[in-house]
Symmetry: C2
Subunit: 311 residues, 2 copies
């Protein structure tokens, strides 16, 4: 008799779900809306209902479900207790127990960035590595650290918060976290735009970036065409991120860094800028760490969630 | 029948050894000289001979030895392979196998700083914590990171090399590792002396530090007497180390930092300076990490080594 599991990735606007077989093959995937109203109290019942409907549709019995893995957007401890998922309206409660009772199945959840990192290790750009750092360059900078194949959760679920490494003294704009000079302020999509604006304010060169609205994608597109100003912005981005990753390497000495998120769509050129700076700052014991691009994109979360229960 | 184990801590000049019972009580401890000549080829035979002599002295049979744990001064991977112990003259070989064959017993070794961290968790300042960072402020800055009670070894034994976090741009003096601006250059005993010299060169205040040779101990003694210049040096030290530990916290989110090494003999005042800066830079999820002083001093290594085989 085949066995199955579900991988769930709860985001602020949509919830992604996947049905997997025991070999980790995704058999079906779908999305439902995240109902954040009323402190997000409908979210877990909606997930339970969606899973039960899928089991009925596919004629799968509860006895053949290994469990449900889930990524949630906020700190989660090892027991499944969330402390403050601002985007969902959630306070503090045990997600594993709550959803477990609704479904009468084993549930295991983790922080979404950490779970996505596990997904990339298992089926994505991190395959073959057991000690890796997955860096997600999106609106912010997220991270997931895997040590010997296991998520580094930390004391209260705040492991891998690498976007909030302090990287620049004297920064005057605050980070979303309230501090000043976090890595996220320079290496995220919005950070790259910040670097571009600052560069444009000080140089007087011809550049395609001189327009009303500049995006991170504009910068990387311009880099590929050799735009001088864009190249300088990319160097600045690489300097910050390479230095930040070198500091992470001094702590955890990973085999590889896997770079994902929207910004990573720029491709291999991005890795070149990061590695140049990384090699300048890294301790020699971590000098040979590999740099890879993530490959699962938005599915990393459901894959990692499935892996949580297939372990 | 009681069971026993040995904990061994190999340093560049002496080798410390301890005989422990299965409850982790140290029954005897002693030292032998480290013979580094001839590429350190006598070191492991000397250790084996010393252990066998102790077993004879105490009438302990081999059947009652659980194993030998050992800390060595250099990177060691999970299998016990050392890559380059410069201080011992060792190249690359498997220490667990080599000493294991000499003694016909199970041997497990790790990097000395990591093993000492395990010792502090088990019987020292880190008791009660399972996720902690042990920081050793001596001639250099060493570190050991414990995650869920286990040493974070890293891909090739360079985990916890926190002295080589890049913390200062524009530094002109090189660190021992060859990089510029490493944490070790400001937070070690020699680093504190560097900070004091730089401060003395720029201020014109009355201070007891104005003398031919200043040591880190002089600085902390003067801090306790309210010497203004010494306090400024301590603030500068705290700024660097607090910032560095905040960056480590963003990565591993520990429950506690345990501060040891010669510099930590300054006592609690040291923690105050570190924590002020730590709280300024740390991501909120790690804000409540505790700061403790290490307590085992030079015995941390043999305790941690014993713990390696008692696990």
């Amino acid at each position: 008799m085949s066995e199955y599991c579900f991988g769930v990735d709860i985001g602020g606007t949509t919830i992604k779900l996947g049905l997997f077989n025991e070999d980790g093959v995704v058999l079906d995937k779908w999305e439902i809306k995240t109902r954040t109203e009323e402190n997000g109290q409908n979210i877990l019942p909606d997930v339970a209902e969606s899973i039960q409907a899928k089991m009925e549709e596919k004629s799968i019995n509860k006895e053949n479900i290994i469990g449900v893995g889930m990524g949630v957007p906020g700190p989660v401890d090892k027991k499944g207790v969330v402390y403050n998922c601002v985007n969902l309206g959630w306070g503090q409660f045990n997600v594993n127990e709550t959803l477990g009772k609704l479904l009468d199945m084993p549930v295991k959840c983790g922080n979404d960035a950490n779970v996505a990192a596990l997904g990339e290790m298992w089926k994505g750009g991190g395959q073959g590595y057991k000690n890796l750092v997955v860096v997600t360059l999106g609106t912010g900078v997220g991270g997931g650290i895997i040590i010997d194949g296991e998520i580094l959760t930390g004391a209260n679920g705040a492991g891998g918060e690498i976007g909030h490494i302090h990287i620049q003294d004297g920064e005057l704009e605050p980070c979303g976290c309230g501090n000043y000079g976090c890595l996220e302020q320079y290496a995220s999509a919005t950070g790259i735009v910040r670097l571009a604006k600052r560069k444009l304010a000080t140089v007087d060169k011809v550049t395609v970036l001189k327009k009303d609205t500049v995006t991170a994608k504009d910068v990387w597109d311009a880099v590929k065409f050799g735009d001088e100003v864009a190249v300088e912005v990319a160097e600045c981005f690489g300097e910050y991120l390479g230095k930040g990753l070198a500091n992470i390497a001094a702590v955890v000495n990973p085999e590889a860094f896997v770079i994902g998120g929207g910004v990573s769509k720029a491709g291999k050129v991005l890795l070149d800028y990061i590695q140049d700076s990384y090699k300048e700052y890294v301790f020699h014991g971590s000098r040979n760490a590999k740099f890879e691009l993530a490959t699962l994109e938005n599915d990393a979360g459901i894959f990692g969630a499935a892996k949580l229960v297939l372990e």
